[in-house]
């Protein structure tokens, strides 16, 4: 079994009001010096068998179409080796 993690973050130029709200809460709870919080999504895909190149290409394709919207988000794919 293989595991692939797809992390999706809003692009830097896109305002993240949820991250801002979390930033405010962290400060209120006493964490000093927080200058920015950005909130993203993480998808953990468990797959049968091994990851070969064509499968990885397919995951990239879907990470850039379904899992993220390239107009507002960037994604990073990493294989979770355990």
């Amino acid at each position: 079994m293989a595991r692939v993690i797809v992390d999706v973050m809003l692009k830097n130029e896109i305002l993240d009001p949820q991250g801002k709200a979390v930033e405010g809460a962290l400060a209120r709870l006493g964490l000093a010096g927080v200058t920015s919080v950005r909130q993203g999504k993480s998808f953990s895909l468990e797959l049968e068998g091994d990851i070969d190149e064509s499968r990885l290409a397919q995951i990239h394709e879907l990470a850039g179409s379904l899992l993220s919207n390239p107009v507002i988000e960037d994604y990073v794919i990493r294989e979770d080796v355990r």
Partner: protein
């Protein structure tokens, strides 16, 4: 001779405003045709409305899963071929996710779900969906969304402005942080329009704040008759 125009309204799992959209079409004089998200074709309709609501529970991103529904394959192809398509609220989000319209709709700047009667200015009265209005006309229709903040990069916004593709703009207060107060945009050809507020909820004095929204539907019928 009078031929009734057949306007499809797509129902996705979680669509809310499909009934109101169908009603607005009937009040404007068209025939509303129910389309199902799982349909593989458009049943020969003359135009399509993607209604408001929470397709697929707004999971992942608003409109992100609806974009891949079976009905969207033929819809995207037909829209690229000139079929008139109006996306309202969630329908606008689906059109952006489908790349039929540029930009995206993200969480309202103040994080609140907003529900109120909203004043708009019709900026482009030449699209298939806005020709019943006068350019610069002010209308009031309901607005209700949590993720209605229109965003696009600066060059896309400049292009939309210079090509007259900003269809409607919020006036008074910008309710959700939309860039340049944009409430609705069109594609280059003007057959595909997305709008965040709800014209279909303002077609009858009994249930709407005004009947200002009816113009979107009468515009289309007028255009199709003339075509």
């Amino acid at each position: 001779m009078s031929v009734t125009m057949r306007i499809g309204v797509v129902t996705f799992p979680g669509s809310l405003d499909d009934r109101d959209a169908a009603r607005a079409i009937r009040i404007a004089g068209g025939e509303a045709i129910e389309l199902w998200h799982g349909d593989a074709d458009l049943h020969g309709v003359d135009a399509v409305v993607l209604p408001g609501g929470f397709s697929y529970g707004d999971y992942l991103r608003c409109g992100a899963i609806a974009r891949f529904a079976p009905v969207m394959g033929p819809l995207v192809a037909a829209a690229n071929g000139g079929l008139p398509v109006l996306g309202i609220c969630n329908g606008f989000q689906v059109l952006c996710e489908s790349h039929l319209l540029p930009g995206a709709l993200v969480r309202n700047t103040d994080l609140h779900f907003i529900c109120r009667d909203q004043r708009l200015r019709i900026e482009n009265a030449h699209t298939l969906w806005t020709s019943s209005y006068a350019e610069g006309q002010e209308i009031v229709v309901p607005l209700k969304n949590g993720e209605g903040s229109y965003v696009a990069d600066e060059s896309t916004l400049d292009m939309l402005e210079s090509e007259g593709r900003v269809v409607a703009r919020y006036i008074g207060v910008n309710p959700n942080g939309s860039r340049r107060d944009i409430a609705g945009v069109a594609n280059a050809r003007g057959n595909v329009v997305g709008i965040m507020p709800h014209p279909e909820h303002a077609v009858e004095a009994l249930t709407g704040p005004t009947t200002d929204g009816l113009g979107f539907f009468t515009s289309l019928l007028k255009g199709l008759v003339e075509a």
